[in-house]
């Protein structure tokens, strides 16, 4: 079973990430929500419309970026856009052409409008696929691996654009990815799925805290001696101090980072310590995710 008892509720204007390894059920979930396949059991509403009884309404209001660009390689860039614009009901010819021009200009594809899609680079195809997804100004976007297979520069461009979709245009976005950077950077909330089931859901920060523990404070000094370590250990909310004498730094586990950091720095300075840097050490979402998925699979 690709998806098993998965329950998701996404607020309007939210960027919600579905994060999971290959075969976790992300694409199947997106396909069901886009009315491309039917669930064998259960139900879902997209924009208030039931996917089983009102699929045409759902399709009309959703823009889907599929795992593959799904572009007609023998048609030109403009022919692809024009076909999908009409398919999504943009019947006014002038309005349609204006919208196509706006999107192709934005994605720097207008100069290539008469080129066959087969001649475009992978990054350009992905941009065109996103332009196609947006052609009918959908309020809900389902993006399946938008940066997959792209070079870092193209991936960053796509990531920046997706970030702007929610902030600028208030689109509701369901983002499917196994790139943790995408989830961490773009999503308001993230659901980690594995084997078709929800493992955990929350903001990226919450997931980091809940899975890999709270952030720690790293204080690097010019010279570290035992008296300074003892000063820190005596502070009320400090739970543990890890010392790296060679690097002259302390990694300090505290209950509340924002409350305790000024006190730690102040006490160390007053005790004669010369502070070179103070950093917050936060386990990355990647570490949190790997820890969770490994635990699930074992």
């Amino acid at each position: 079973m690709a998806v098993d008892h998965l329950s998701i509720s996404i607020e309007g204007g939210e960027v919600f990430g579905l994060l999971g390894p290959n075969g976790a059920g992300k694409t199947t979930t997106v396909r069901m929500l886009a009315c491309l396949i039917s669930p064998s059991e259960g139900s879902a509403k997209v924009g208030g419309h039931d996917i089983a009884t009102e699929p045409m309404k759902v399709r009309a209001m959703v823009g889907i970026l599929t795992e593959n660009p799904s572009l007609y390689e023998r048609l030109t860039v403009h022919e692809n856009m024009d076909f999908f614009a009409q398919a999504y009901g943009l019947s006014d010819a002038q309005g349609r052409q204006d919208r196509i021009r706006e999107l192709l200009d934005f994605f720097e594809l207008w100069e290539r409008r008469n080129d066959k899609v087969g001649k475009l680079s992978k990054g350009m195809k992905q941009k065109l696929a996103i332009a196609r997804t947006l052609v009918h100004k959908p309020s809900i976007l389902l993006l399946d691996e938008p940066t997959a297979g792209l070079d870092p520069e193209s991936a960053k461009g796509i990531r920046d654009f997706v970030a702007s979709l929610s902030q600028r245009d208030n689109h509701t976005v369901l983002l499917c990815t196994h790139h943790l950077e995408d989830a961490e950077r773009l999503c308001d909330r993230v659901m980690i799925v594995n084997r078709g089931r929800c493992v955990i859901v929350g903001t990226p920060e919450e997931l980091q805290d809940r899975i890999a523990g709270r952030p720690k404070l790293q204080v690097t000094l010019k010279k570290l001696d035992q008296s300074l370590v003892q000063v820190v250990k005596e502070i009320e909310h400090v739970r543990e101090v890890y010392v790296d004498k060679d690097a002259a730094n302390m990694v300090i586990a505290v209950d509340d980072l924002s409350e305790t950091t000024p006190e730690i720095v102040g006490r160390v300075v007053r005790a004669g310590g010369m502070v070179l840097s103070v950093n917050t050490l936060r386990p990355s979402l990647e570490e949190a995710y790997l820890k969770l998925v490994r635990a699930e699979n074992s």
Binding site: R31, A34, C35, L36, I37, S38, M56, R59, A60, V62, I64, T66, E67, N68, S70, L71, Y72, E73, R74, L75, E79, F83, F84, Q86, A87, Y88, G89, S91, K116, A129, R132
Partner: protein, 274 residues
């Protein structure tokens, strides 16, 4: 159902087909062979061997088994004229039923299976084009080109035959005649529609174009039986047989369309790919 959506799917697919020589080549070349080369070879070869004498000598099984009404048409002709007459008007007739079926089968096999192979199927299925609009658009793009090719082949064939018959029959033109008009504008469209309906349904269910073509090639069998029937003299495509064929295929078309529209569900296409 919205006609402009059907036409939208038609135009998009036609645009792709025009630029795909793997599809375009067979639907142009095979009809050319049937409408130009085959009659030229058959007509020119006997003329080189200088066949003469009464019509029924030097004859094949088909000639020996001619129905009486055809025999009546041959009265007063020499052997060569009779052979050219029977070959031109009767022997080649079933081949012109292969043209629409072959042409439409090549395109119809590509309809959904081609989109699956080229990984474009998800985007089109995600659009608010209804199932019936999608299905009819795909059928139309197989039907219209195949009918154009069939009509063009018939026009070329008529020209080739009349060029020869003008000389052989002292100024008489053999084509077009009512039976052939019924064949081209009655049997060919109905047989093509039945083939297209079945092939598109097959194309929606299989994973690739080759698989769709292999399965749909079975649909050529009844036509090949007609060809063999003609050669053996068992069947003759006279007005009655042609009228029966039209009526039979209209019924088949209605059944195929009914089943096709009822059974086509886009949500079942993607799960079959995995």
């Amino acid at each position: 159902m919205r006609a402009h959506m059907v036409m939208l799917v038609f135009r998009k697919d036609w645009c792709e087909i025009k630029r795909n020589w793997q599809i375009f080549f067979p639907i142009v070349v095979v009809p050319f062979l049937i409408s130009v080369l085959l009659p030229t070879l058959i007509i020119v070869t006997p003329s080189l061997s200088s066949i003469s004498g009464p019509p029924m000598e030097n004859s094949t099984a088909m000639m020996r088994n001619l129905p009486s009404q055809v025999r009546d048409e041959l009265v007063g002709m020499n052997a060569w004229q009779a052979l050219v007459y029977v070959m031109s008007l009767y022997f080649f007739a079933p081949f012109f039923l292969i043209i629409p079926l072959m042409a439409s089968s090549v395109i119809a096999s590509d309809s959904f299976a081609g989109e699956k192979e080229r990984k474009t199927i998800e985007a089109i299925l995600a659009t608010p084009i209804s199932d019936s609009e999608l299905l009819l658009g795909k059928m139309l793009v197989s039907f219209i080109p195949s009918m154009i090719v069939t009509a063009a082949s018939f026009a070329i064939y008529t020209t080739v035959i009349d060029v020869f018959s003008f000389e052989i029959f002292d100024g008489r033109l053999l084509l077009p005649n009512p039976v052939w008009l019924m064949l081209i504008f009655g049997v060919a469209p109905t047989i093509a529609l039945a083939g297209i309906g079945l092939t598109v349904m097959i194309s929606a269910r299989v994973k690739g174009v080759r698989e769709a073509q292999q399965i749909s090639s079975i649909l050529l069998l009844p036509i090949l039986m007609l060809v063999l029937g003609q050669i053996s003299g068992a069947i003759f495509l006279g007005p009655t047989v042609v009228a029966i064929l039209i009526a039979a295929f209209v019924v088949v078309d209605l059944i195929v369309f009914y089943i096709g529209l009822r059974s086509f569900k886009r949500e079942e296409i993607l799960p079959r790919l995995s």
